[in-house]
């Protein structure tokens, strides 16, 4: 169980949150990309053994969207910030 330190509510259990997917680079212009690059951006989430940036929604708390840096092996959370 993750313990996410919401900047507004304090440490809250993962079950109060909804996962919002990886924090991706800004949406590129599909016309400027090859099909392969576009499909990659749309459908292939980063999945490293290590640090990832993710969006989490404090759905059953204050409703804020947070971005956090989480280690996929240890589940350590290094940073939580409001917004992107």
């Amino acid at each position: 169980m993750l313990l996410i330190d919401c900047p507004f509510c304090g440490k809250r259990t993962e079950s109060e949150f909804a996962y919002g997917g990886p924090a991706l680079a800004p949406r590129p212009d599909p016309a400027a990309l090859t099909d392969a690059e576009w499909v990659d951006w749309l459908t292939v989430p980063p999945n490293p053994l290590g640090w990832v940036e993710e969006r989490w929604w404090h759905a059953r708390g204050c409703g804020a969207w947070l971005t956090l840096r989480r280690h996929t092996v240890t589940h350590e959370i290094a940073e939580v910030r409001h917004g992107r």
Binding site: F8, C9, R12, R60, G61, A64
Partner: protein, 180 residues
């Protein structure tokens, strides 16, 4: 669910509770004045609930408050707030009929809530005057401690029967844990 039940603690549905949601810049003077004016209660700071009798202001998020007034006053109070906030970027909604409230009374309220919600209910962590938005088993809910032996739980009215069943189960006689 019309009458309360006497188990580990007394659980009583509050049949008619006026509740108004306000969203806006909580640091704005006009917002503070509009809210405290109709509630007659001091402005809460982050994660606080202030109440006087049946009137209360609950902090719900960095840009949201809930104002509790008697049910029959809610529509007028919402209108008063709306006119006080005319021209200001804020939203006022009378949600009295969209929420269900329960009053828990007794020495074991901490234990009954701790069985249902992922909240540190130790007296050091959860103190009277604190409000908490969280979940009770499967549904979103919130509560605050009015005092050491009284809590008020609120949830969407659509899940009021579920909540009533949850609280009844958590307060079943003989199920005391005695942790707190």
């Amino acid at each position: 669910m019309s009458e309360g039940f006497e188990e580990l603690c007394r659980v009583r549905p509050i049949a008619r509770q006026g509740m108004i949601t306000l969203r806006g810049d909580l640091s704005a003077k006009a917002v503070k004045n509009a809210v405290t004016g109709v509630a007659g209660v001091d402005m809460p700071s982050r994660r606080e609930a202030r109440h006087v009798g049946e009137r209360a202001i609950l902090w719900m998020s960095p840009d949201e408050l809930a104002v509790l007034v008697p049910h029959e006053e809610a529509a007028v109070a919402a209108e008063t707030m709306r006119s006080a906030l005319a021209g200001i970027h804020a939203l006022v909604a009378d949600v009295s009929d969209a929420r269900a409230h329960f009053r828990l009374e007794g020495d074991t309220i901490r234990e009954v809530i701790a069985k249902l919600a992922p909240v540190d209910m130790s007296p050091a962590a959860m103190q009277p005057g604190m409000v908490r938005r969280t979940r009770f088993a499967q549904v979103a809910a919130g509560f605050w401690l009015r005092d050491e032996a009284t809590a008020q739980v609120f949830c969407f009215r659509s899940v009021a029967d579920y909540m009533s069943g949850l609280l009844r189960t958590a307060a079943t006689p003989g199920s005391a844990v005695g942790y707190f």
